[in-house]
Symmetry: C2
Subunit: 266 residues, 2 copies
């Protein structure tokens, strides 16, 4: 028997029918489905770590998971990936499977995570499960000016669920952008990159940006929320349907592939 | 009271949760949902005709329906459309609402219908409900060469469910194209235009094209099916998830808007 290898799996999923990433007793989760498929395909229980513990209903373009405890030769990876996908439900898809260094841990090794929140200003019969549909007029440039405040090292405690439960609520944000694809003017994306995120942080930052977009809040109000703890952002929490874990970066990785900015995997 | 006007509604829908367009007792249908919303918004029962009686699970980018029996002034159309959408389920969307000539009938007045069948060669977590996912290698140019045979006036009886129940199984096909968007090479579309279609015809033509794409059938075999009646195509019926009513044309209409070729409404 060769020593167990660490595998790095990249997954996309529609989180709409799951109680989030994290395995739970008596609840359907993405990690739980992956564990079940791995057990069957690899013939052994593997320990699975995910880079982002996405909440119930949150999606992923490219979640990364490390699988610990199974022995897989490089030549078998393609077949194993295929077998996993044959067993997984259709809304979970293993995009890539690779052998990783023995020290690789999807959560601890991650250098940066990017999340994308998709806002749509148009009713559509097809995409509701992948957007937050907002009827109000939104001032996207006011939203961008406010998002600029998030960049750098700040205390995001006002934007965290259970802020007291976090070791620290300081987060260093690498970028925070409000984007509208030129050929899809009804969409607004909020994309944010950081080494880590607090619980519900992206959905609450999005909620605050939407308040700004509607003209009910201004940049000074948002700055105040970064400067002293407030429970206000909890009321603005944007729904999970619009949120995607876009990508996760590890030291030594090549730049992430460009993800089609408005097409969630069609 | 002004005389009742005829309204022309253009609708998009995800047919995945409906037993088709046509109203039925004890089954959820698109027409049934529209009737219910119209009754509430217009305060009266309207008679609704649809241009294409899409089957269970079939979608529409732009179905056209005529609403007969309500009085709506042109100035109120925007409000009525908004009110209908507020009442309709999220997977049905009234895109446009206009006053039509008194003689307008969505089904009888239609000059041409275009259907699109979406085939995907890639597993994806997000779009399965809007494609037919085919793992086999497909020869798209053999498929196009075969689709060329459909153009013109032919007896499509071999491709119709309940061919005997149709007055005639002769159909004049204006175009039949196999297309792959340059920026979405995993997708294949089969688009077909005709004045009318027989029951399940597009799904059976698609099934035959897929057999050709796989190398199990050739153009001569398909030609034979057009020349003498066969039950064979019924076995190849492609699933409804990939089928969209793309547009409906009426005399005097401007050319239809270009529909993003691979993005179903995001």
């Amino acid at each position: 028997m060769p020593p167990p290898s660490v595998l790095r799996a990249t997954l996309e999923y529609d989180g709409g029918h799951y109680r989030g990433w994290q395995a739970q007793v008596n609840a359907r989760t993405v990690q739980g489905e992956l564990m079940r498929a791995c057990r069957e395909v690899l013939g052994t229980d593997v320990k699975i770590n995910g880079a982002g513990r996405t909440d119930a209903g949150v999606h992923a373009f490219a979640q990364v998971a490390s699988l610990h405890g199974a022995s897989v030769k490089a030549a078998e990876l393609g077949k194993v990936r295929q077998d996993l996908n044959d067993l997984l439900p259709p809304d979970i898809n293993v995009l890539r499977l690779a052998v990783a260094p023995a020290s690789f841990h999807a959560r601890h090794s991650a250098r940066e995570r990017i999340y994308r929140y998709r806002i749509s200003r148009r009713r559509t019969a097809f995409g509701k499960r992948f957007v937050y549909w907002v009827k109000d007029r939104l001032d996207a440039s006011a939203m961008q000016a406010t998002a600029d405040l998030f960049v750098g090292r700040h205390d995001f405690g006002s934007f965290a669920e259970n802020a007291e439960g976090h070791d620290s609520t300081l987060v260093e944000v690498a970028f925070a952008r409000v984007e509208t694809p030129p050929d899809a003017p009804d969409l607004i994306f909020f994309r944010i990159a950081a080494s880590h995120f607090l619980w519900k942080m992206v959905r609450r930052l999005t909620g605050a940006l939407l308040e700004v977009g509607r003209g009910r809040l201004d940049a000074a109000g948002v700055r105040a929320l970064l400067e002293s703890r407030s429970g206000k952002p909890a009321e603005w929490t944007a729904p999970p349907s619009g949120l995607f874990l876009e990508s996760v970066a590890y030291p030594g990785d090549p730049p992430p592939p460009v993800i089609d900015p408005y097409r969630p995997g069609f």
